[in-house]
Symmetry: C2
Subunit: 194 residues, 2 copies
Protein backbone atom coordinates (compact mmCIF):
# COMPACT_ATOMS: atom_id res chain seq x y z
CA UNK A 1 0.00 0.00 0.00
CA UNK A 2 1.93 2.95 -1.35
CA UNK A 3 0.39 5.71 0.78
CA UNK A 4 1.24 3.77 3.94
CA UNK A 5 4.83 3.09 2.84
CA UNK A 6 5.24 6.77 2.03
CA UNK A 7 4.04 7.74 5.50
CA UNK A 8 6.31 5.19 7.18
CA UNK A 9 9.27 6.50 5.19
CA UNK A 10 8.48 10.15 5.81
CA UNK A 11 7.18 10.04 9.36
CA UNK A 12 8.41 6.80 10.93
CA UNK A 13 11.25 7.06 13.40
CA UNK A 14 13.56 4.11 13.96
CA UNK A 15 14.80 4.03 17.53
CA UNK A 16 18.09 2.48 18.57
CA UNK A 17 16.47 -0.62 20.09
CA UNK A 18 14.85 -1.69 16.83
CA UNK A 19 11.51 -0.04 17.59
CA UNK A 20 9.71 1.70 14.74
CA UNK A 21 7.84 4.70 16.10
CA UNK A 22 4.81 5.64 14.04
CA UNK A 23 3.15 7.71 16.74
CA UNK A 24 2.39 10.51 14.32
CA UNK A 25 -0.24 8.59 12.32
CA UNK A 26 -0.96 5.19 13.90
CA UNK A 27 -0.06 4.66 17.55
CA UNK A 28 -0.79 7.94 19.35
CA UNK A 29 -1.89 10.46 16.77
CA UNK A 30 -4.13 8.70 14.23
CA UNK A 31 -4.71 9.78 10.62
CA UNK A 32 -8.40 8.89 10.09
CA UNK A 33 -8.22 9.18 6.29
CA UNK A 34 -5.36 6.66 6.27
CA UNK A 35 -7.39 4.34 8.52
CA UNK A 36 -10.30 4.55 6.08
CA UNK A 37 -7.98 3.64 3.18
CA UNK A 38 -6.55 0.76 5.21
CA UNK A 39 -10.08 -0.53 5.84
CA UNK A 40 -10.83 -0.45 2.13
CA UNK A 41 -7.58 -2.25 1.33
CA UNK A 42 -8.25 -5.10 3.79
CA UNK A 43 -11.81 -5.31 2.46
CA UNK A 44 -10.47 -5.85 -1.07
CA UNK A 45 -8.18 -8.62 0.12
CA UNK A 46 -10.61 -10.49 2.38
CA UNK A 47 -14.09 -9.74 1.00
CA UNK A 48 -14.58 -13.23 -0.44
CA UNK A 49 -13.74 -15.06 2.78
CA UNK A 50 -17.26 -15.05 4.26
CA UNK A 51 -16.08 -13.10 7.30
CA UNK A 52 -18.59 -12.61 10.14
CA UNK A 53 -16.41 -10.82 12.73
CA UNK A 54 -13.23 -8.77 12.85
CA UNK A 55 -11.04 -9.32 15.91
CA UNK A 56 -8.28 -7.05 17.16
CA UNK A 57 -6.39 -6.34 20.37
CA UNK A 58 -6.64 -3.07 22.26
CA UNK A 59 -5.38 -0.35 21.79
CA UNK A 60 -3.69 0.51 18.50
CA UNK A 61 -5.46 -2.18 16.48
CA UNK A 62 -8.87 -0.59 17.01
CA UNK A 63 -8.69 2.25 14.46
CA UNK A 64 -7.63 0.20 11.41
CA UNK A 65 -9.90 -2.68 12.51
CA UNK A 66 -13.06 -0.60 12.89
CA UNK A 67 -12.77 0.69 9.31
CA UNK A 68 -12.17 -2.85 8.05
CA UNK A 69 -15.27 -4.04 9.93
CA UNK A 70 -17.26 -1.13 8.48
CA UNK A 71 -16.32 -2.14 4.92
CA UNK A 72 -17.05 -5.82 5.58
CA UNK A 73 -20.33 -4.88 7.32
CA UNK A 74 -19.56 -7.04 10.36
CA UNK A 75 -18.97 -6.26 14.06
CA UNK A 76 -15.52 -5.59 15.49
CA UNK A 77 -14.46 -7.25 18.72
CA UNK A 78 -11.42 -6.04 20.57
CA UNK A 79 -9.74 -8.48 22.92
CA UNK A 80 -8.90 -6.88 26.23
CA UNK A 81 -5.59 -7.02 28.02
CA UNK A 82 -6.24 -8.02 31.59
CA UNK A 83 -4.11 -7.96 34.71
CA UNK A 84 -6.47 -10.30 36.47
CA UNK A 85 -4.87 -13.62 37.28
CA UNK A 86 -8.25 -15.24 37.78
CA UNK A 87 -9.62 -16.80 34.68
CA UNK A 88 -13.25 -16.13 33.91
CA UNK A 89 -15.83 -18.73 32.96
CA UNK A 90 -17.41 -16.12 30.75
CA UNK A 91 -14.36 -15.45 28.60
CA UNK A 92 -11.80 -17.13 26.38
CA UNK A 93 -8.30 -16.26 27.50
CA UNK A 94 -4.76 -16.62 26.28
CA UNK A 95 -1.27 -15.65 27.38
CA UNK A 96 0.82 -13.36 25.23
CA UNK A 97 4.53 -12.90 25.68
CA UNK A 98 5.77 -9.38 24.96
CA UNK A 99 9.41 -9.37 23.85
CA UNK A 100 9.42 -5.56 23.97
CA UNK A 101 8.35 -5.45 27.59
CA UNK A 102 9.97 -8.73 28.60
CA UNK A 103 6.86 -10.08 30.28
CA UNK A 104 3.63 -11.98 29.74
CA UNK A 105 0.12 -10.56 29.76
CA UNK A 106 -3.31 -12.10 29.36
CA UNK A 107 -5.86 -11.30 26.70
CA UNK A 108 -9.55 -12.02 26.96
CA UNK A 109 -12.72 -12.09 24.85
CA UNK A 110 -16.22 -12.67 26.21
CA UNK A 111 -17.63 -16.00 25.10
CA UNK A 112 -20.83 -14.37 23.91
CA UNK A 113 -19.04 -12.50 21.09
CA UNK A 114 -16.94 -15.28 19.52
CA UNK A 115 -19.24 -18.07 18.38
CA UNK A 116 -18.65 -21.48 16.92
CA UNK A 117 -20.02 -20.56 13.50
CA UNK A 118 -18.01 -17.34 13.21
CA UNK A 119 -15.42 -16.79 10.52
CA UNK A 120 -12.94 -14.33 11.91
CA UNK A 121 -10.49 -11.87 10.39
CA UNK A 122 -7.74 -10.69 12.75
CA UNK A 123 -6.53 -7.12 12.20
CA UNK A 124 -3.57 -5.64 14.03
CA UNK A 125 -1.28 -2.66 13.69
CA UNK A 126 2.05 -4.48 13.98
CA UNK A 127 3.43 -7.96 13.39
CA UNK A 128 6.92 -8.63 14.75
CA UNK A 129 7.41 -11.86 16.72
CA UNK A 130 3.78 -12.82 16.19
CA UNK A 131 2.96 -13.33 19.85
CA UNK A 132 -0.16 -11.13 19.88
CA UNK A 133 -1.43 -12.74 16.65
CA UNK A 134 -0.76 -16.18 18.14
CA UNK A 135 -2.79 -15.25 21.22
CA UNK A 136 -5.68 -13.99 19.10
CA UNK A 137 -5.59 -17.21 17.01
CA UNK A 138 -5.71 -19.14 20.27
CA UNK A 139 -8.88 -17.29 21.37
CA UNK A 140 -10.52 -18.10 18.03
CA UNK A 141 -9.53 -21.76 18.31
CA UNK A 142 -10.90 -21.99 21.85
CA UNK A 143 -14.23 -20.57 20.68
CA UNK A 144 -14.56 -23.10 17.87
CA UNK A 145 -14.80 -20.28 15.30
CA UNK A 146 -12.65 -20.42 12.17
CA UNK A 147 -9.83 -18.09 11.22
CA UNK A 148 -10.19 -16.44 7.80
CA UNK A 149 -6.83 -14.70 7.87
CA UNK A 150 -4.74 -11.98 9.42
CA UNK A 151 -4.45 -8.41 8.15
CA UNK A 152 -1.47 -6.44 9.41
CA UNK A 153 -0.76 -2.76 8.89
CA UNK A 154 3.03 -2.93 9.37
CA UNK A 155 4.98 -6.18 9.41
CA UNK A 156 8.58 -6.29 10.52
CA UNK A 157 9.71 -8.76 7.87
CA UNK A 158 13.08 -9.20 9.56
CA UNK A 159 11.41 -10.72 12.60
CA UNK A 160 10.01 -14.22 12.63
CA UNK A 161 6.27 -13.71 13.29
CA UNK A 162 5.11 -13.50 9.67
CA UNK A 163 7.06 -16.60 8.62
CA UNK A 164 5.79 -18.64 11.59
CA UNK A 165 2.14 -17.81 10.86
CA UNK A 166 2.46 -18.42 7.10
CA UNK A 167 4.20 -21.75 7.72
CA UNK A 168 1.08 -22.84 9.56
CA UNK A 169 -0.94 -22.16 6.43
CA UNK A 170 -2.53 -18.99 7.79
CA UNK A 171 -3.27 -16.33 5.20
CA UNK A 172 -1.38 -13.23 6.32
CA UNK A 173 -1.71 -10.01 4.39
CA UNK A 174 0.48 -7.10 5.44
CA UNK A 175 0.03 -3.66 3.91
CA UNK A 176 3.72 -2.83 4.38
CA UNK A 177 6.50 -5.31 5.09
CA UNK A 178 9.71 -3.77 6.33
CA UNK A 179 12.71 -5.68 5.05
CA UNK A 180 15.36 -3.65 6.82
CA UNK A 181 15.43 -0.57 8.93
CA UNK A 182 18.05 1.61 10.52
CA UNK A 183 18.06 5.13 11.89
CA UNK A 184 18.94 6.34 8.40
CA UNK A 185 16.73 4.26 6.18
CA UNK A 186 13.73 1.95 5.90
CA UNK A 187 13.37 -0.53 3.04
CA UNK A 188 10.31 -2.58 2.14
CA UNK A 189 9.81 -6.07 0.77
CA UNK A 190 8.18 -5.93 -2.62
CA UNK A 191 5.68 -8.71 -2.39
CA UNK A 192 3.08 -8.06 0.29
CA UNK A 193 1.67 -11.54 0.59
CA UNK A 194 3.02 -15.06 0.15
CA UNK B 1 -29.63 10.32 18.76
CA UNK B 2 -32.50 7.91 18.35
CA UNK B 3 -30.56 4.93 16.95
CA UNK B 4 -28.18 5.08 19.89
CA UNK B 5 -30.98 5.33 22.47
CA UNK B 6 -32.69 2.37 20.83
CA UNK B 7 -29.52 0.29 21.08
CA UNK B 8 -28.96 1.29 24.72
CA UNK B 9 -32.55 0.33 25.53
CA UNK B 10 -32.44 -2.95 23.64
CA UNK B 11 -28.89 -4.10 24.32
CA UNK B 12 -27.66 -2.23 27.39
CA UNK B 13 -27.47 -4.17 30.63
CA UNK B 14 -27.74 -2.34 33.95
CA UNK B 15 -25.67 -4.09 36.58
CA UNK B 16 -26.45 -3.92 40.28
CA UNK B 17 -23.61 -1.53 41.08
CA UNK B 18 -24.94 1.19 38.77
CA UNK B 19 -22.78 0.19 35.83
CA UNK B 20 -24.33 0.31 32.36
CA UNK B 21 -22.83 -2.47 30.26
CA UNK B 22 -22.87 -1.72 26.54
CA UNK B 23 -20.27 -4.31 25.62
CA UNK B 24 -22.34 -5.55 22.71
CA UNK B 25 -21.90 -2.40 20.57
CA UNK B 26 -19.48 0.05 22.20
CA UNK B 27 -17.06 -1.28 24.81
CA UNK B 28 -15.99 -4.74 23.67
CA UNK B 29 -17.92 -5.59 20.55
CA UNK B 30 -18.17 -2.45 18.37
CA UNK B 31 -20.86 -1.70 15.80
CA UNK B 32 -18.90 0.14 13.08
CA UNK B 33 -22.01 1.48 11.33
CA UNK B 34 -23.15 3.04 14.62
CA UNK B 35 -19.67 4.55 15.09
CA UNK B 36 -19.90 6.10 11.61
CA UNK B 37 -23.30 7.62 12.46
CA UNK B 38 -21.91 8.93 15.74
CA UNK B 39 -19.04 10.58 13.86
CA UNK B 40 -21.50 12.29 11.52
CA UNK B 41 -23.62 13.47 14.46
CA UNK B 42 -20.68 15.04 16.28
CA UNK B 43 -19.55 16.61 13.01
CA UNK B 44 -22.96 18.31 12.63
CA UNK B 45 -22.75 19.70 16.16
CA UNK B 46 -19.16 20.91 16.12
CA UNK B 47 -18.34 21.64 12.46
CA UNK B 48 -18.35 25.42 12.91
CA UNK B 49 -15.94 25.44 15.85
CA UNK B 50 -12.73 25.58 13.82
CA UNK B 51 -11.51 22.31 15.29
CA UNK B 52 -7.95 21.23 14.45
CA UNK B 53 -7.64 18.06 16.58
CA UNK B 54 -9.88 15.48 18.21
CA UNK B 55 -8.67 14.15 21.56
CA UNK B 56 -9.84 10.98 23.31
CA UNK B 57 -8.63 8.55 25.94
CA UNK B 58 -7.77 4.95 25.23
CA UNK B 59 -9.52 2.51 24.80
CA UNK B 60 -13.25 2.77 24.22
CA UNK B 61 -13.18 6.38 23.06
CA UNK B 62 -11.10 5.55 20.00
CA UNK B 63 -13.83 4.13 17.71
CA UNK B 64 -16.35 7.00 18.02
CA UNK B 65 -13.52 9.55 18.02
CA UNK B 66 -11.82 8.29 14.85
CA UNK B 67 -15.06 8.64 12.85
CA UNK B 68 -15.58 12.14 14.26
CA UNK B 69 -12.02 13.08 13.25
CA UNK B 70 -12.64 11.61 9.79
CA UNK B 71 -15.71 13.81 9.28
CA UNK B 72 -13.93 16.90 10.60
CA UNK B 73 -10.87 16.07 8.47
CA UNK B 74 -8.47 16.48 11.39
CA UNK B 75 -6.14 14.08 13.24
CA UNK B 76 -7.21 12.09 16.29
CA UNK B 77 -4.95 11.92 19.32
CA UNK B 78 -5.59 9.36 22.01
CA UNK B 79 -4.22 10.09 25.45
CA UNK B 80 -2.50 7.08 26.95
CA UNK B 81 -3.03 5.69 30.39
CA UNK B 82 0.34 5.18 31.98
CA UNK B 83 1.51 3.31 35.06
CA UNK B 84 4.79 5.12 35.03
CA UNK B 85 5.22 7.33 38.08
CA UNK B 86 7.97 9.29 36.42
CA UNK B 87 6.74 12.32 34.57
CA UNK B 88 8.12 12.85 31.11
CA UNK B 89 9.51 16.13 29.77
CA UNK B 90 8.13 15.15 26.41
CA UNK B 91 4.50 14.79 27.48
CA UNK B 92 1.66 16.65 29.18
CA UNK B 93 0.27 14.60 32.04
CA UNK B 94 -2.68 14.64 34.37
CA UNK B 95 -4.09 12.52 37.17
CA UNK B 96 -7.53 10.96 36.80
CA UNK B 97 -9.47 9.52 39.68
CA UNK B 98 -11.55 6.48 38.81
CA UNK B 99 -14.56 6.13 41.09
CA UNK B 100 -15.35 2.75 39.53
CA UNK B 101 -11.93 1.34 40.32
CA UNK B 102 -11.37 3.40 43.44
CA UNK B 103 -7.93 4.57 42.41
CA UNK B 104 -5.99 7.19 40.47
CA UNK B 105 -4.25 6.74 37.16
CA UNK B 106 -2.18 9.03 34.97
CA UNK B 107 -2.92 10.07 31.42
CA UNK B 108 -0.38 11.41 28.98
CA UNK B 109 -0.14 13.09 25.58
CA UNK B 110 3.12 13.81 23.76
CA UNK B 111 3.85 17.51 23.58
CA UNK B 112 4.44 17.32 19.84
CA UNK B 113 0.77 16.52 19.14
CA UNK B 114 -1.04 19.14 21.21
CA UNK B 115 0.06 22.59 20.10
CA UNK B 116 -0.63 26.08 21.34
CA UNK B 117 -2.67 27.06 18.30
CA UNK B 118 -4.83 23.90 18.35
CA UNK B 119 -8.58 24.02 18.88
CA UNK B 120 -9.51 20.68 20.37
CA UNK B 121 -12.70 18.63 20.52
CA UNK B 122 -12.76 15.95 23.24
CA UNK B 123 -14.71 12.80 22.39
CA UNK B 124 -15.37 10.04 24.90
CA UNK B 125 -17.68 7.05 25.23
CA UNK B 126 -19.02 7.78 28.74
CA UNK B 127 -19.47 10.75 31.04
CA UNK B 128 -20.31 9.97 34.65
CA UNK B 129 -18.33 11.82 37.30
CA UNK B 130 -16.41 13.71 34.67
CA UNK B 131 -12.97 12.77 35.97
CA UNK B 132 -11.61 11.55 32.62
CA UNK B 133 -12.99 14.63 30.82
CA UNK B 134 -11.44 16.85 33.50
CA UNK B 135 -8.06 15.15 32.96
CA UNK B 136 -8.31 15.63 29.19
CA UNK B 137 -9.23 19.32 29.68
CA UNK B 138 -6.20 19.64 31.92
CA UNK B 139 -3.91 18.26 29.18
CA UNK B 140 -5.34 20.79 26.71
CA UNK B 141 -4.87 23.64 29.18
CA UNK B 142 -1.27 22.63 29.86
CA UNK B 143 -0.54 22.64 26.13
CA UNK B 144 -1.93 26.14 25.65
CA UNK B 145 -4.43 24.85 23.07
CA UNK B 146 -8.10 25.83 23.35
CA UNK B 147 -11.05 23.56 24.09
CA UNK B 148 -13.85 23.68 21.52
CA UNK B 149 -16.17 21.34 23.41
CA UNK B 150 -16.81 17.82 24.57
CA UNK B 151 -18.78 15.19 22.67
CA UNK B 152 -20.01 12.26 24.74
CA UNK B 153 -21.68 9.11 23.46
CA UNK B 154 -23.50 8.19 26.69
CA UNK B 155 -23.88 10.57 29.62
CA UNK B 156 -25.12 9.36 32.98
CA UNK B 157 -27.28 12.41 33.68
CA UNK B 158 -27.86 11.30 37.27
CA UNK B 159 -24.15 11.68 38.05
CA UNK B 160 -22.50 15.03 38.47
CA UNK B 161 -19.91 15.16 35.65
CA UNK B 162 -22.08 16.81 32.99
CA UNK B 163 -23.34 19.52 35.34
CA UNK B 164 -19.83 20.31 36.60
CA UNK B 165 -18.44 20.73 33.09
CA UNK B 166 -21.40 22.81 31.85
CA UNK B 167 -21.17 25.07 34.92
CA UNK B 168 -17.66 25.92 33.84
CA UNK B 169 -19.06 27.14 30.53
CA UNK B 170 -17.78 24.16 28.56
CA UNK B 171 -19.96 23.12 25.64
CA UNK B 172 -20.90 19.49 26.27
CA UNK B 173 -22.96 17.60 23.74
CA UNK B 174 -24.09 14.10 24.68
CA UNK B 175 -25.80 11.86 22.15
CA UNK B 176 -27.78 10.10 24.87
CA UNK B 177 -28.30 11.32 28.44
CA UNK B 178 -29.60 8.71 30.83
CA UNK B 179 -31.91 10.26 33.39
CA UNK B 180 -32.58 7.11 35.38
CA UNK B 181 -31.68 3.48 35.08
CA UNK B 182 -32.49 0.30 36.92
CA UNK B 183 -32.24 -3.37 36.04
CA UNK B 184 -35.70 -3.13 34.55
CA UNK B 185 -35.67 0.15 32.72
CA UNK B 186 -33.59 2.98 31.28
CA UNK B 187 -35.04 6.47 30.75
CA UNK B 188 -33.48 9.35 28.84
CA UNK B 189 -33.44 13.08 29.34
CA UNK B 190 -35.11 14.83 26.45
CA UNK B 191 -32.82 17.73 25.85
CA UNK B 192 -29.37 16.60 24.78
CA UNK B 193 -27.50 19.82 25.32
CA UNK B 194 -27.78 22.76 27.65
Amino acid sequence: MDLLKKMITEKGIVLKDGVLKVDSFLNHCIDPQLMKSIGKEFYKKFKDEGITKVLTLETSGIAPAVFTALELEVPLIFAKKTQSKNSSDLAYESNVHSFTKGKDYRIRVSKEYLLKGDRVLIIDDFLANGQAAKGLCDLIEKSGASLAGIGIVIEKGFQKGGALLREKGIRVHSLAIIENMSEKMISFRNEEEK
